[in-house]
Amino acid sequence: MKIALFATCIVDAMYPSTARATVSILERLGHTVVFPAGQACCGQMHMNSGYFPEAVPVVRNHVEAFEAEDYDVAVAPSGSCVASVKHQHAMLARTIGDADLETRANAVGARTYELSALLTDVLGVTDAAAELGSWYPHRVTYHPSCHGMRLLRLGDRQADLLRTVEGLELEPLPQADQCCGFGGTFSMKNADVSSAMLADKNANIAATGAGLCTGGDASCLLHIGGGLSRQGSPISTLHFAEILASTRDNPAPAPDRIGSAAGISGKAGR
């Protein structure tokens, strides 16, 4: 299968190793990965902050970039960006009365998948250790981010894949379904409430005894990890794609590393 990678802006700029891990996983399954060069961002930040006119060129760019390439399905290692592509793009097109863009956005959205959904529903992966060689011998807890959980209805797909990683011990996270408080510009505009939500999330993470918190959205992990780092917590964060890509030969960074700088190591997953 020919798979187009949508790296998302945060992953592209801040967590390149997550995108490389995604490529590595798909190639290990024997698929061809292409990277539509025109891609930039899904425009979610603009839309969710109410900047609709500013979102239009961003959304248009995404639609055009992914139309330009020839591929079977597109994938992104981010629940919230996929939710934006699937639901918000057409809505924005409708708002500005551009029926043509709406149709095209719907077409791109229909074949865009979040990584765990692609692996599970399309590629039929059920055992990460057996099919991907995934090996990550650490105690890990998992935060299901809101957009993946509620907008995409990913259910247990990410956690189920993690459970099949060799050596990985998955510690249940108390009140896992509670928002971490990121919410894009919410974390700046309502910094106090966001911090209070983060404090509770991180207390729950600490209570699991795991050395690392994983999840499917780089932005939530940036938020959670940023809070843990400020507290001086030894717990770190890492995208689940990097855990799936981690093998005995090429292990992803171990969770005893201090700080939140998930995926700084350029080696992960390759």
Binding site: R28, G30, A40, N48, G50, K189, L198, S260
Partner: protein
């Protein structure tokens, strides 16, 4: 939408009354967050109701179909509200009731006052009502020399404490038992000085206090949960039975109800009688459901009035995207699951309607005219829990985003110098509007290292991003973006040439 479709020419577009915040949400939230007792009380209460709701909702195999039905009924009501109101008016009047139209809070208040005076009363008993809180009726009546006594237990607690409700269903959710005992001891005449904080003792004290009021009151004021157009019937659902005392004992009954509460027929009520109790109190059925249709000679109130309230509802109805906020049946499920409400409580929202529904309903009813109400749609991380919980499927996150856009647009061009956020969004829009511009912007990112300490963390950012670094670090950006890496490593090879670098484990085995 014509502005006269309710038969009320010249109505103001927006509503007033207790719908306006007096300070911006972030400021109010910061203050409320500092109250540890409030947070503990709220966290405990919302989680208890939340779990109870989940349990009873899970019992119904057709819950999703019920939600769909509720949503569809409300949608059709909104589409033909004028004719349903006319049908209701005809039937209500034919049965001996009197209808009074009120375009805003001031008109509604004045109408109620006149009706009380006509009945020769200077005090009234009240059953908990969101509509009368919205218009500030109690305060208005007090100014006019009329005493209004709340009879709902929680509402009574709030009133005795000269406080404001902080939750639409559990108005005293922010108070614990000991605080309630202290209020009773301080404010109730003739209360047993040995009163403990035992819930049964507290309820008993309230009952004794209220009984005197019920027996002497000539006039009662109520809200209504539903109105049935086909028969001209009004309905109130409650838990304590005090409301029923108000609805049946006094000679005169005055109900104040928002125009959106209408249902076409009794059959439609069936759907909501399942949705409402499970969503609000986590009960299969609410203990008391009272329905009344006009006047019955020799039985119950002989003067039955209904004040039909607009107060911004026609303005909300005219907003195609926001209209569905009027589907709300005030069950409070959205606030019980909201992580923002859980931490700030209802007072931070500054309006009768707090939580996620308040964050959309208040600005819809009043318009995004004040800076304070314009801050409400931002009081959400858009986590979506409210949408999942709402029994009538109001897409609150989508309406929040719609209102944010309205706010941003309303400020466009009005400022001499655009705000930091405006500038940042414009710049990001330019960079993110093309892959090559994004690549250019990313080239500058590693400069962020300059802002980072030796531990590769950024601990302080200026301007609008300062809030982030108040409690979070940011890792220094990596030297190379993924795009850059791909261009260098893979860019030269045509698609398809990248043969798998690692043999599939399965094949190895």
């Amino acid at each position: 939408m014509s502005s006269t479709y309710l038969g009320m020419p010249g109505r103001p577009v927006f509503g007033d009354g207790n719908l306006h915040a007096t300070e911006a949400f972030p400021t109010a939230a910061r203050r409320e967050l500092g109250n540890a007792q409030l947070r503990a009380n709220l966290g405990h209460a919302t989680h208890t109701i939340r779990d109870k709701r989940l349990r009873v909702v899970a019992e119904l195999p057709d819950w999703e179909e019920l939600r769909d039905a509720g949503s569809a009924i409300k949608e059709s009501v909104m589409a033909r509200l004028p004719e349903l109101l006319e049908e209701f008016e005809a039937n209500f009047t034919a049965r001996g009731g009197k209808i009074h139209w009120a375009r805003d809070a001031a008109e509604a208040n004045k109408t109620v006052r006149d009706l009380i005076r006509d009945a020769g009363a200077d005090e009234v008993v009240k059953v908990k009502s969101m509509a009368t809180q919205e218009i500030g009726l109690n305060e208005y009546l007090e100014e006019q020399g009329i005493a209004a006594f709340e009879t709902d237990l929680a509402e009574l607690i709030v009133q005795l404490d000269h406080d404001k409700p902080s939750h639409i269903l559990v108005p005293a959710i922010h108070k614990n038992r000991t605080q309630i005992r202290d209020i009773f001891l301080r404010e109730m005449p003739d209360v047993d000085p040995g009163l403990t904080n035992n819930p049964a003792r507290l309820a008993e004290a309230a009952r004794v206090h209220l009984r005197r009021k019920f027996l002497s009151a000539k006039v009662a004021v109520s809200g209504a949960n539903f109105a049935i157009a086909k028969s001209g019937t009004l309905a109130v659902v409650e838990s304590e039975g005090n409301g029923r005392m108000c609805l049946t004992l006094p000679e005169t009954l005055i109900t104040v109800m928002g125009v959106e509460k209408l249902l076409p027929s009794w059959q439609d009520l069936e759907v909501f009688m399942q949705l409402l109790p499970r969503s609000s109190t986590g009960e299969r059925m609410n203990p008391y459901t009272s329905l009344w249709t006009g006047v019955t000679e020799g039985d119950g109130p002989q003067n039955v009035h209904l004040v039909l309230l607009d107060n911004g509802r026609s303005a909300a109805l005219a907003d195609e995207m926001g209209r569905s906020a009027l589907h709300c049946i005030r069950c409070s499920a959205c606030m019980n699951v909201c992580p923002v409400y859980e931490r700030t409580g209802g007072h931070a929202y500054g309006s009768t309607y707090p939580g996620p529904i308040g964050a959309i309903l208040s600005p819809l009813l009043t318009g995004i005219t004040s800076e304070e109400n314009a801050s409400l749609p931002y009081a959400s991380s858009l986590c979506g829990a409210c949408y999942d919980a709402c029994p009538v499927k109001i897409n609150i996150p989508e309406i929040l985003v719609h209102l944010r856009a309205e706010d941003v647009d309303s400020r466009r061009g009005t400022r001499k110098t655009p705000g930091q956020m405006d500038v940042a969004m414009k710049a990001a829009s330019w960079a993110m509007g093309a892959g090559r511009r994004m690549a250019l912007a990313e080239k500058a990112l590693p400069l962020g290292k300059l802002a980072a300490g030796p531990d590769r963390k950024i601990k302080k950012l200026p301007g609008i991003a300062a809030g982030w670094t108040q409690s979070r670090d940011i890792p220094a950006p990596p030297a190379q973006s993924f795009r850059d890496w791909w261009g260098k490593e893979r860019g030269k090879s045509a698609p398809g040439e990248n043969a798998p670098t690692i043999t599939r484990q399965k094949e190895k085995e």
